[in-house]
């Protein structure tokens, strides 16, 4: 009987969780080329898509469920997977045992993947909507002849701060605020080496892409000095921390700032004068792809104006699609954080793939600078030894007593 009650309780909990708050909005596909999209209608094809987490309109909160719409339109099944960093994606692909048809990594990772022959050239005759892409985002440094990539979204890194916690007279338009002792314990910082080093390098007046190991070492010193002031190193936990007023200031992606601001209107963002990081996430087809044409159809679908609109409205990142941009309202396109003015854009820099010794220096610095609390290590060893000895002695006594009893 008790088991049945427990089971019923669990069932109720699950049902409560599963009930959707809002139904997904249907997508208007009337303007799309149905002859093109129905080519694989009954072929029973499945494509594997690998994208960032929280990076597509998926039908939640009344948005458009893009993958479901694609499946309904084309009859191609989408097996959608997510990664949380470029490096995690790379490690998985490099491992070799997986096959993805469409992957959406960022610029510097793309240049690395092109250099390592991990990508297939796209067949642009199969992707008519490539014409929608803003030429500003084509032939970029990571893909100079634009053979392999089509952009999905782009964005920048901004300084996000809580207006109730940061002094109104404070100069927020500089990375120096992340080193300001006034906000000790209230500063958040990126929990990935590339972004964190980018900021430190900019503060030191260098490029985001360090030219030498000594520049990396200089940045390591800055990060080490900052370590005492940092509350936490975060990635997506920053959403909760900034919304709850747990921290005063932290750097993050502009698109995510829009989401955070919706939760907490006290938040504001600023562009540092030193220049910031601009990134483009692109759709590519890795060499392990099994359904190249279907993958190109998926890419084409993502570049449909209405699909791009649903995506950019849901995830908040900026769109490189001119046809989508035309559909957006003035308020969105006029927002200086998501669509920054040209002087900000000119100072923004892309991440590039780095020489191996520079990358190693970066990882090495990243794992050591948070790690030199000598006072801790000083008394650690003796105490450990004493504890171990005590445990051994205790067990030894227990054993000899037992032996005595036995004899």
């Amino acid at each position: 009987m008790k088991r049945i009650v427990i089971f019923a309780l669990i069932l109720m909990m699950l049902v409560g969780l599963a009930a959707p708050a809002f139904a997904a909005t249907p997508l208007d596909t009337s303007n799309m080329d149905t002859a093109y999209y129905s080519r694989f209608k009954d072929a029973g094809i499945t494509i594997n898509v690998f994208n960032w987490g929280e990076y597509i309109s998926d039908g939640r909160d009344g948005s458009v469920d893009i993958n479901a719409e694609f499946e309904a339109l084309t009859g191609i099944k989408v097996n959608y997977n997510m990664f949380e960093s470029n490096e995690a994606m790379y490690a998985k692909l490099k491992g070799g045992s997986v096959s993805y048809d469409v992957v959406i990594p960022s610029d510097y990772m793309i240049s690395q993947m092109i250099a390592e022959d991990m990508l297939l050239p796209l067949d642009f005759s199969n992707i008519p909507n490539a014409d929608n892409v803003d030429p500003k985002f084509l032939n970029m440094t990571y893909d100079p002849e634009n053979l392999y990539t089509l952009p999905y979204t782009w964005g920048t890194v901004v300084i996000i701060y809580n207006t109730t916690m940061v002094d109104p007279d404070e100069d927020v338009e500089t990375w120096d605020i992340l080193w300001n002792e006034k906000y000790a314990g209230q500063i958040l910082m990126f929990d990935n080496p590339r972004d964190a080093y980018g900021i430190a390098l900019k503060k030191a007046g260098h490029s985001l892409n360090p030219a030498s190991v000594s520049e990396v070492e200089e940045a390591t010193e800055l990060l080490k000095a900052q370590n005492k002031l940092v509350q936490t190193y975060v990635m997506d936990q920053i959403f909760d921390k900034m919304a709850a007023g747990e921290a005063a200031v932290g750097p993050y992606y502009a698109g995510d700032f829009i989401t955070m601001q919706n939760d907490n209107p006290d938040l504001a963002a600023a562009y540092p004068r030193e220049g910031t990081n601009i990134f483009v996430d692109c759709m590519v087809i890795p060499t392990s792809a099994k359904q190249k044409e279907a993958a190109e159809m998926y890419i084409n679908f993502m570049l449909e104006p209405e699909v791009g609109l649903a995506n950019t409205e849901y995830i908040g990142y900026s769109t490189p699609n001119l046809a989508t941009l035309a559909l957006l309202d003035e308020e969105t396109t006029g927002n200086p954080i998501t669509y920054p003015p040209s002087e900000t854009m000119e100072k923004a820099e892309f991440f590039l793939d780095l020489p191996q010794e520079v990358k190693l220096a970066m990882d090495n610095g990243w794992s050591t600078f948070r790690n030199d609390d000598e006072a801790f290590n000083f008394w650690l060893m003796p105490v450990l030894v004493v504890v171990a000895l005590a445990a051994v002695a205790m067990m030894g006594i227990g054993r000899s007593r037992k032996k005595k009893v036995e004899y």
Binding site: Q231, E246, N371, R399, R401
Partner: protein
């Protein structure tokens, strides 16, 4: 012969998912990026000895706290009526039904400076305390997540301790301390060693807990290994070498400990 056939599915599983990966770890640890044999990776691990000691230290503290907390609980649980024992066991297992990451995430919202605990303290007029992003928070997370793995083996050996033995010791004039040291403790030793193994090993290699509750300030060996695979430079060789050093370290500690529990092998499995 029959036994072999019956164990075949697990043997197959183990070879495929334990032995082969271990060989791969050893292979990567002992080769360079070019594929040639080298000991450089293993000797490079030395520079991280601070992190390794910190991990071992925090895991030792967490294991000791688990032991001190779980031992009396397991004993009193084993002395309850059978129905009550089942309820008590359920209470121990209940948190494990919820995903480990979710539970740790919940601790984050509890411990934050604007979190529930500090809000409550604020009502009582006690200023916000720094709870999260400390080593104490990491230890708390470990204890919270792994204490069932200490309770369960202790409980299972203690249910096997015959109440008659305790009565006999008391009848023969032993006091409470004497009963504990001479009867209960030796008989529960296999549970203690199993419990220590099952708490210490996952605690020493955790990275999610230190990431979420330690604020990334308290780098642990698990974080370090993760960084080698998911950091800017993809370096599976060094990552494997750190894993291998960790495994050898744990193996040494465990074998040293098991020496003291050789005689009571029968209770090693829960």
């Amino acid at each position: 012969m029959r036994n072999k056939v019956l164990s075949a599915p697990y043997l197959f599983w183990m070879v495929l998912f334990t032995v082969v990966p271990l060989i791969l770890v050893a292979y990567y640890a002992l080769t360079g990026a070019d594929g040639g044999f080298t000991l450089k990776n293993v000797s490079d691990v030395r520079q991280f000895s601070g992190v390794i000691f910190r991990s071992v230290w925090l895991a030792v503290i967490a294991t000791l706290i688990c032991l001190v907390m779980a031992y009396p609980l397991a004993y009193s649980m084993s002395r309850l009526r059978p129905q009550m024992q089942r309820v008590a066991l359920l209470m121990v297992m209940l948190p494990m039904w919820i995903n480990f990451l979710l539970r740790t995430y919940a601790w984050m919202t509890l411990l934050e400076n604007t979190g529930l605990i500090n809000q409550l303290l604020g009502l009582l007029g006690i200023g916000p305390l720094q709870l999260i992003n400390t080593q104490g928070a990491v230890v708390l997370g470990m204890v919270y997540n792994y204490v069932p793995f200490m309770i369960l083996p202790l409980y299972s050996v203690m249910t096997k301790i015959d109440q008659g033995l305790i009565h006999a010791a008391q009848d023969l004039g032993s006091n409470t301390l004497g009963v504990f040291v001479n009867v209960v403790l030796p008989l529960s030793m296999p549970g203690i060693t199993t419990g220590i193994t099952m708490v210490f090993v996952p605690a020493v290699s955790t990275f999610a807990i230190s990431r979420m509750l330690g604020g990334g300030q308290n780098l642990m060996i698990g974080d370090l290994i993760e960084l080698q695979f998911l950091g800017t430079s993809y370096n599976p060789n060094l990552g494997s070498a750190i894993s291998m050093v960790l495994m050898v370290l744990v193996l040494l500690l465990m074998s040293a400990m098991n020496q003291y529990a050789d005689e009571e092998k029968e209770g090693m499995i829960i």
